[in-house]
Symmetry: C2
Subunit: 457 residues, 2 copies
Amino acid sequence: MTITSNVPADRNAPPITYKLAEFVATHDSGGWDESVEHDAHRTFFNWLGCAIGASNHPAVNIALAAAKEIEPSRQATILGRPEKVDMGSAALINGISSHTFDFDDTHLKTIIHPAGPVASAVVALAEKVASSGREVIDALVLGIDVSCRIGNVIYPDHYDRGWHITGTTGSLGAAAGCARLLRLDTQQVAMALGIAASQPIGVREQFGTMTKPMHPGASARAGLFSALMARHGFTASDRAIEAARGFVQTISDKRKWDEATDQLGERFEISFNTFKPYACGIVIHPSIDGCVRLTRRHKLRPENIKRVILKVHSLVLELTGKPEPKTGLEGKFSVFHGCAVGIIYGVAGEAQYDDSIVNQADVVALRNKVEAIVDDRVGEEQAVVTIQCHDGREYTEHVEHAIGSIENPMTDIQLEEKFDALVGPVLGAAKVRQLTELSWSLARELNVNKLIFTAQP
Amino acid sequence: MTITSNVPADRNAPPITYKLAEFVATHDSGGWDESVEHDAHRTFFNWLGCAIGASNHPAVNIALAAAKEIEPSRQATILGRPEKVDMGSAALINGISSHTFDFDDTHLKTIIHPAGPVASAVVALAEKVASSGREVIDALVLGIDVSCRIGNVIYPDHYDRGWHITGTTGSLGAAAGCARLLRLDTQQVAMALGIAASQPIGVREQFGTMTKPMHPGASARAGLFSALMARHGFTASDRAIEAARGFVQTISDKRKWDEATDQLGERFEISFNTFKPYACGIVIHPSIDGCVRLTRRHKLRPENIKRVILKVHSLVLELTGKPEPKTGLEGKFSVFHGCAVGIIYGVAGEAQYDDSIVNQADVVALRNKVEAIVDDRVGEEQAVVTIQCHDGREYTEHVEHAIGSIENPMTDIQLEEKFDALVGPVLGAAKVRQLTELSWSLARELNVNKLIFTAQP
């Protein structure tokens, strides 16, 4: 037969789906250096703390009430709580709780929060199939490599369009991690990735609502089911990620194909994962850091402050420009609120995003003195903060690397303090100590269920 | 505070999410004329036949095996089978089976197959909550109105990008239908639509694999869970569909806002739903129709045919240009196969898409004589078919309205014959008769479970 047709889009994309599948199926267990292994444990530990910390939040209560409508079996634990649900619902709910405080990890190159989708899916499945800690770490490293590599391919165009890149790439990462845990072969992993490629989750309009943390949860569940369906023989395109009408080209106008497989198995994206000191959107952190530094250094008192002037990249206001937040959740999307509590409290932990603090008179008053000026010569990861006092003093700080960045990372001790602050109020000091130890030694644990059992009240 | 920022995209879109929510929550039960009511019953009946007809297909067996991994409760029936699963899994699996033969309904303005997502979600939930037939029909009409109206807003740009519009708009339609069935109020329906707006399902690269029919299934499940979460108080943006970083603007570069709410409650999109006489992609139908007409009219014999020349719109080859299908599923995406069986058998039902027929020597030989020429002066719903014979005869047919189109619809009797051919082999003649009667009288049934019980073997 003769075919005469327009050829749209890029039909010559490299075989990414298959190459990533082969990598996930065949890469050696622990086949990376010590620093990658350590970063994987940090990623797991930070995710666990965030998930337990928010486990009694209304968003989690509601998601659990909805999940109960399907009368779920008791396969997997909701971290920090006594309830068990089917592993799909556990992936959903732990994914929600891990992102509810917006306090989780960030792959700065893409603003992906990679652990939420991947770890939530892998751990729910691991509990059901009684995986070893080694298998969980392997699945986490490989799953996050897949989601962040695809993120590198499509960022920033994809994100700029309005997609919440954590949830869209999260389905792929969760599918990869679960496929690894199930020891699927290359062809089956390709099918799992293919099935997941039809399930991108999340648009940015949801920021400030419960649906934002639902994105990593829903993508965790979608990825887990994709792997299960692939195991039983369900078919998808083995070019689902790269084809002309596949995931990448449908979801993004621009793409850097090389990012998908360059140095595959040599460079691991989990090495570029970072952890937040402040419980809010990452783009706010440099501004808060600048406020905290100036306040400490010059012993400033809030009542003495006349104006706070921020010079920031346009993305800061697009993502976190809420001028008058009314709830803690909205406060996380307000650079103005973050700066006010940074000055008043010297920190911006979950406590500073309580509804009562967001509406407290002194916080509101100081917030109203914060001005933001967009200047795209200032990098997304930077801020120039100027504080003017009523007594005429004026100080300026140019924050190039906020704490928690690649260049200025949180130490393991700081991560433990963060974990303690999140988990202590939920499970108590003894479990904080046990979970801290079990997390650092995870790769040596024969059965992940010891840790998961400890994560219950 | 002062905000200086670029304002991207369209920030002045009308309040579509809220208006549609209000419509779904408050429109009168049966608040439409007799023809809409009749079209709703035709839509339900055709969906039911397709779902039962494919209920023993490998895609359904595999999806069920995967669903069993979560040890589901026995809440809802897999149509045509003895098994029951939780209502989320039932929505997924019935959605898969209803689209597996690619024999389901088509909203021609958008190429959406609307019943798959909406009916599969609504019926699974209806079984659990023991809804009346009246409530099911109401949910079906309103849910399909939502998905097809949003489809009208974004078609064709959204589809051209590579999205499978059935699954992307399906999550919204399923959420709307389930929200109606649960009698959620306007604010809750808005949240259900908001949650669903973060879960578009499906890219076109999957056409020809099991993941294509998974799209309506996964969107049915996503929509159902969205309604359940909304009922319990989960929050989303109440501008999630129309906002600058919401569903429509993220997923499509062009949009016709008016389509969302023009004549809302007066014009119903279910009126524009059509039903397929042939078990393959709708864009192939005019070509098959032309072949069938010429073969019948001129008593052509396959061995006497030298060439078959099709003039078709470019979309026909983009969607269904597979030159050498190897399986029945691939055959559904081959206009060449469709024409060959149309000439040889005079029909293109599910039997003509069996793997054995796709690989049968006479079919392959005739398929290789079919040529397709793209001519975008020929409408998407048209075809110009020319058949040249070895004896020098040549005939041409310009098909303007294939059978099954709005202008040339299948009759109720033809729908019953189609239902019989699909359901008879699965459930037998007695159940075909009972289900046919129960479907036509659905709005008068006090409990939909009578029909669902009859749909089990």
